[in-house]
Symmetry: C2
Subunit: 112 residues, 2 copies
């Protein structure tokens, strides 16, 4: 059983991914490639196969809605945006993130 840092990092990413994606969508309507690019800028690499199921899940939960929009080059795109419920949910995730961040920093500081 090998321990592998990439795997550990990927596990860390998992939980926040939903939060990060909602942060991105909250800013302005975006489609999948936009999301991937913004995540890349934040060094939080994700692939399409991860994103599509996640977006579908959030859509059918009422967190997200979308609108089709034509593209100048290529097929039409689904632009996602937050619903009212989505904004509330994002606010709750915000709290969770702060809780967890503070918790980890507490443990780190104990350790100096």
């Amino acid at each position: 059983m090998a321990i592998n840092t990439e795997n550990a990092k990927s596990q860390m990413r998992k939980g926040f991914l939903e939060y990060c994606i909602l942060l991105i969508i909250a800013n302005k309507p975006v489609y999948v490639s936009d999301i991937i690019n913004e995540l890349k800028e934040a060094h939080l690499i994700v692939v399409e196969g991860t994103l599509y199921p996640l977006l579908s899940r959030l859509k059918s939960s009422g967190i997200l809605g979308y609108q089709w929009q034509e593209s100048l080059q290529g097929p039409p795109r689904k632009y996602y945006e937050l619903t009212e419920q989505g904004r509330q949910f994002l606010a709750e995730l915000e709290e969770s993130w702060n809780d967890i961040k503070n918790g980890v920093e507490l443990l780190k500081n104990k350790n100096i």
Copy 2:
């Protein structure tokens, strides 16, 4: 398909649980109840059924070792401690945590 904040928070916890536990063990040798108590203080609640398999995994990966120690009240306890390899691994998780924290904060700040 209901979205549930507790579940989302639990998902967030998942990834860096390993990191938090190693932080705690790095500080001084501890057994399971110690770990649970320290996590509770940091508001990162975890149950035994989560911890035992995780500790076993880290043990058989060479990240952790342990020593039996008698208790004044009740059965003996397994006190876990980091191996040399474990300290290296912890340093790598440290980097991952910083990366992810910075990434999330970047996305948050874009959003103001």
